[in-house]
Structures are given as structure tokens and as C-alpha cells.
């Protein structure tokens, strides 16, 4: 355990104040890792835009600590993973039987730090709805997902945060043969949002899709990091992401694709489009491709721009006032990745969130779904 002078000591103190039942061996081991590693700092490449300095001061308070999924930490687990494992109050621990087909989504909601484990059995299908706490001063939600052969999981994660909210999520998933993971994310507002999606396409034929929208506003930061490891042949990955930044909002999208030796016939595409709506707003989008196989298709593109002036004139020439025309084009741009969400309930929910957030009074007939 760290010395009394360590800046991490308050974590150790907070841990000792947990109810005895919560101070499990698993949590205590996580605390040891946390004290050794600390929270990530901006001198790490993956954290260069997001400074957790202010969060480092926050001490987790008393809460109703329940059992959380226990297991060996991932090989590349960092101090944030250790923090989450130490102080998570609750979490799903679900194993879905082979060939089951769940119509109702699993719900990962609630306040405080959360740690979840979801196993989807062979050829089973499931839905996962993640809703972050919009008022959280600091919330972390970590997900450990495993999809067996032929399994399929659709995820909708939304963050519709108040201006002071600081939210961190990480989804780590391992995909078996022909497994499909389809993740849709809607990140709206907040002071700090950091969202990692790390997917291991471990066996042949695995497929991952990300459909994402983030809207940074006020002085908020939304930082998205994805890492897809294609480790086996015939894997597919798709990322379609739109970023908007208003005011002095900042957005980051860092999309890393690693095609490992032997992952032939990998088919990967990453498309990021950004709309900067104010002179002080900023978005950084960076594809990172590492390709160690020769027979692969990897396409990527990032664009930055303002609204299409021809389209704006077209709408105004039909009588729409300029402000309404701008709002409509912005909304259409924002919704593009979400229109193709396969699950209808998820799709409608995502589109509704965006319309509400962008303060649009558009009726349901407005948008193609």
C-alpha cells in the first residue's frame, strides 16, 4: 500500500471506509493495482486530450456496495480499470444460454461506478441498453463482454449529460467465430466524456459495427477511443461516426485498427465526419491503422466541415428561415449513423434523444428511419 504522502493515499483510505462485506479480496487486489498505477495521465498517448487531474481528487463515498463480477483483470488493464474494480458498487453478471433469443434488453443503468460482465452463449442473441447517470460528478462503467461462436449482441449506449457530468465508459469485447457485436453510441453534452471500445475479433468471421454520434458543447470534452484487433481471417469491422462541436466544445475520435499477421481477408472501414459549429469549437479525429497481413481491405476517411451551403440555399429558396434550415441540416447530419440501427426500439430511442437534445421540434415524419 502507498505511503501516507502518496497522492493515491485517499483511495486506500476510502477503501478502508467501505463496509466490511464490500472489502473483498477481489476489490483489495484491484486497489493494489490502482495504488501501483494511478489514473492515466495526459503524457500517455491515449490520454493526451483528456486530463483526469480533477477526477483524481474525488474520493468515492459510501454507497450500497453489492457483488460485482470477479475475474482476472485483462492483460492491458490500466489504473482506471483498477479504480473501477475497486469502487464499483454494482453490475450485471449475466450468462446467456446458447441459442437463447432475448427480446428485452439487459439494462445497465443507475448511479455510481459500475462493473459488468456479459457472456452470450453460442448462437444466442441479446440486447444491452446502457444509460449513464446524467448528473454524475464522476461515473465509470466498465463492460467485459464475451460473444461465443455465432452469438450476437446489440448495444445502445446513451449519455445525455448535464454540463457538469463526468462520465467514463469502457467496453471490452471478445468475439468468437462469426460473432456479431453492434454498438450504437449517442454522447450528448457533459463536462467530460471518455468512451473506449476495445474489441478483439479473436476468431474467423467475427464482425463489429460502431454507429456513433457525439455532440460536444459548452466547454465540454468528449473523447472516443476505439481499438479493433483483427486476429483471425475474414473479420469485418465498420465505424460510422459523426461529431459535432458547438461553443468551445471539444471532441476527439481516435480509431485504431490492428490487423494481425494471418488475419487475411479482413474487411475494415472507418468513416468519421465532423461538423464544427463555432469558431472556438474543436474536433480531433485520427485513424490509426496497423496492418500486418497482405490480403486485406482497410478503408478510412475523416472529414471536417461546416454545413453544405448549397443545401442551405436550397432549403431557404423553398421558404424555410435560415435558422430552421440550419437546424434541419445539422439534425440530418447528426442522425445519419443512427438511422441504420437494426433494432427498431433502439433506433427510435437514439433518434429521439438526438432530436430532443438539438432542441428540435421536428415531428416524427421529419426523418427517414
Amino acid at each position: 500500500m502507498g505511503s501516507m504522502n502518496s497522492p493515491l493515499q485517499h483511495y486506500a483510505d476510502a477503501f478502508e471506509r467501505l463496509p466490511e462485506a464490500a472489502r473483498t479480496t477481489h476489490r483489495r487486489e484491484a486497489l493494489q493495482r490502482l495504488l501501483a498505477l494511478g489514473l492515466p495521465t495526459p503524457d500517455l498517448e491515449d490520454w493526451k486530450y483528456t486530463d483526469l487531474a480533477a477526477l483524481r481528487e474525488l474520493t468515492p463515498g459510501p454507497s450500497d456496495y453489492r457483488t460485482i463480477p470477479e475475474g482476472a483483470p485483462p492483460a492491458d488493464a490500466d489504473g482506471l480499470d483498477a479504480f473501477n474494480a475497486t469502487f464499483a458498487v454494482d453490475g450485471l453478471d449475466v450468462e446467456i444460454a446458447a441459442k437463447a433469443d432475448l427480446a428485452e434488453p439487459l439494462l445497465a443503468t443507475g448511479t455510481g461506478h459500475r462493473r459488468h460482465r456479459i457472456r452470450v452463449g453460442r448462437h444466442a442473441r441479446a440486447l444491452l441498453r446502457i444509460e449513464l447517470d446524467p448528473d454524475a460528478e464522476f461515473q465509470t462503467a466498465f463492460f467485459d463482454v464475451d460473444l461465443a461462436e455465432g452469438a450476437s449482441l446489440q448495444v445502445l449506449r446513451t449519455q445525455d449529460a448535464t454540463p457538469d457530468a463526468q462520465l467514463i465508459t469502457r467496453i471490452r469485447a471478445r468475439l468468437g467465430r462469426d460473432a456479431k457485436l453492434d454498438v450504437s453510441t449517442v454522447d450528448l453534452g457533459g463536462k467530460l466524456g471518455r468512451h473506449d471500445l476495445n474489441v478483439d475479433l479473436a476468431e474467423p468471421g467475427a464482425e463489429v459495427r460502431l454507429r456513433g454520434l457525439f455532440v460536444a458543447s459548452g466547454s465540454g470534452l468528449i473523447d472516443n477511443h476505439t481499438r479493433f484487433d483483427h486476429r483471425a481471417p475474414h473479420g469485418t469491422s465498420r465505424e460510422l461516426v459523426r461529431g459535432l462541436a458547438h461553443d468551445s466544445g471539444r471532441g476527439v475520435f481516435n480509431g485504431r485498427i490492428v490487423v494481425h499477421p494471418g488475419a487475411q481477408k479482413t474487411d475494415s472501414e472507418q468513416r468519421i465526419a465532423n461538423l464544427i459549429l463555432s469558431p472556438k469549437a474543436e474536433i480531433n479525429a485520427k485513424p490509426e491503422l496497423e496492418i500486418y497481413a497482405d490480403d486485406v481491405k482497410c478503408a478510412h476517411g475523416a472529414t471536417f466541415g461546416q454545413l453544405d451551403l448549397t443545401a442551405l440555399f436550397y432549403l431557404r429558396s423553398r421558404g424555410l428561415p435560415e435558422a430552421e434550415a440550419r437546424a434541419l441540416l445539422t439534425l440530418a447530419f447528426a442522425m445519419e449513423p443512427l438511422r441504420q440501427i437494426p433494432n427498431a426500439a433502439f433506433r427510435n430511442e437514439a433518434l429521439k434523444r438526438v432530436a430532443t437534445h438539438l432542441r428540435s421540434d421536428l415531428d416524427e415524419a421529419a426523418l427517414v428511419s
Binding site: 453544405d308 436550397y314 429558396s317
Partner: protein
């Protein structure tokens, strides 16, 4: 209805319109023909209020109002409609919403009562049928994945829905097969009345076989170099534009 007086306009440093004068009265159909690069599209865009054009001299009034001082949406509400040569795709926004929002925005500006969803749907469906389009198009994105011909039909549909007074149709006939040309022409003719006027901007005479103009003008080098009746269009079709440019 529309009075264009010695209109000069330029894009960046290039002068495109060099003194266009034209008077269009209610009830009339005028055709402006001319070679590529003569300034036909620039004239259409300047009249509709597109940014990027600088009017350096002269002006235009619409029903006595200074047209060039108005915002594009104000021109639309006053009754000016531009049929685009290249209609814009707006993925994600349905035609139904777009049409309703446009009509109601115009009605609001004019002080008319806005139409509710049910009334509007009945109103628009009738016009979709008139244009021989599938009503399912109302739930597709504006011009999204439309063929060239479908886009032009959609321009005329918008015109039928919005019921403008002055229709400026920029190369509406380009990209149309003969059946579509017939439907589009019928749409334009349906709008003809003693209270409306039409300005057809076209490179070819083909459209004028279906929409008979009262006057034909030749725009070349940024000026109207010749005006006449419907026969002028046929003469141009036979002889081309060369003899006029040389004049």
C-alpha cells in the same frame, strides 16, 4: 410582375451578367435560351438570392418590391420559385417534412393559417399523383438516391405544393426522358394562369414543344442579344447560337 433593369452581376472577379433588361407580366411565359456559359444559371440564382453573387449595377423588382434586397426565404414567401438545375440531396430529411415545413413557413410569413398534418397529407398526396410519383417517396429523404428524372419531377412537385407566382425553371428539361418530360411539362402548364408567370431557362428547344412560350430571348455574353416570339426558338434549333454570338 418581374422587372429586371440593366442587371450586372459578378462571381468573384468575373463579370457574368452585363446589363440584362427584361419585363415579365402576369400570365406570360418567357423562355431564355443561350449557349453554355452565357449567364443563364447566374441570372436564375441571382433572382432567387443565392449567396456568392455580387450585383454591381442595375436591379430587379418583383411586384414592385426590391427583389434583390430580400432574403431567399422572403422571396419564396412572396411567390418566387426556382427550379434547380441540380436539385440538392438532403439525406435523412423526408420529402413530407420538407414540403410541409416549407409550405407552412411561407404561409406563416404571409399571415395565413398553417396546415395541420392530416390536411397537408391529403393536399400533398394529390400532387404526388399528379406528378405520377409513388406516394412512398414522401417518406424517403429529399432527393436521396433519386435518379436525375426523379429529382426534376420532385422540383415540379415542390412547385405544385408551394403554388408560387413566378416560376424560374433552370434547365428543368435536362436529364429527362420523353415520358418524364411530358409529366414535367404538364405540371408546369397546370401552373399557368393569368396570375402567374414563368421564366424557362433552357439550352434546348425540346421543352418549348410542350410548354409554349409567349416570348423567347437569347442570352449571350451576359446580355439579351435577341428577343422574339415562339418562332425564334425553332430558328435557334435549326441554326444554333453561332450566328447571334457573331452579331
Amino acid at each position: 410582375m418581374l422587372e429586371i433593369n440593366n442587371l450586372h452581376a459578378r462571381v468573384e472577379d468575373k463579370e457574368i451578367l452585363k446589363g440584362v433588361t427584361l419585363s415579365i407580366k402576369a400570365g406570360e411565359v418567357h423562355a431564355i435560351m443561350g449557349p453554355n456559359g452565357s449567364g443563364k444559371s447566374t441570372l436564375s440564382h441571382v433572382l432567387a438570392g443565392r449567396e456568392g453573387y455580387e450585383v454591381t449595377k442595375g436591379g430587379a423588382t418583383f411586384q414592385g418590391q426590391d427583389l434583390l434586397a430580400m432574403e431567399p426565404e422572403a422571396r419564396a414567401a412572396a411567390g418566387v420559385f426556382l427550379g434547380f438545375q441540380y436539385p440538392v440531396e438532403i439525406p435523412g430529411v423526408t420529402n413530407l417534412y420538407f414540403l410541409k415545413a416549407a409550405l407552412n413557413a411561407q404561409r406563416k410569413t404571409r399571415g395565413d393559417k398553417e396546415l395541420d398534418a392530416a390536411d397537408f397529407l391529403a393536399y400533398v398526396k394529390q400532387r404526388v399523383k399528379q406528378m405520377q410519383m409513388d406516394v412512398k417517396m414522401l417518406h424517403r429523404g429529399v432527393n436521396e438516391d433519386f435518379s436525375g428524372g426523379e429529382k426534376k419531377r420532385n422540383e415540379i412537385l415542390q412547385m405544385l405544393v408551394l403554388q408560387p407566382k413566378l416560376m424560374i425553371l433552370d434547365e428543368t428539361d435536362s436529364g429527362l426522358d420523353i415520358d418524364a418530360l411530358k409529366v414535367v411539362s404538364d405540371g408546369i402548364n397546370a401552373m399557368r394562369s393569368k396570375d402567374t408567370a414563368t421564366l424557362l431557362v433552357t439550352h434546348y428547344q425540346r421543352l418549348l414543344d410542350y410548354v409554349q412560350p409567349d416570348f423567347v430571348h437569347v442570352l449571350a455574353g451576359g446580355r439579351i442579344v435577341k428577343s422574339g416570339g415562339p418562332d425564334l426558338a425553332r430558328e435557334l434549333e435549326e441554326k444554333g447560337y453561332g450566328w447571334l454570338a457573331a452579331a
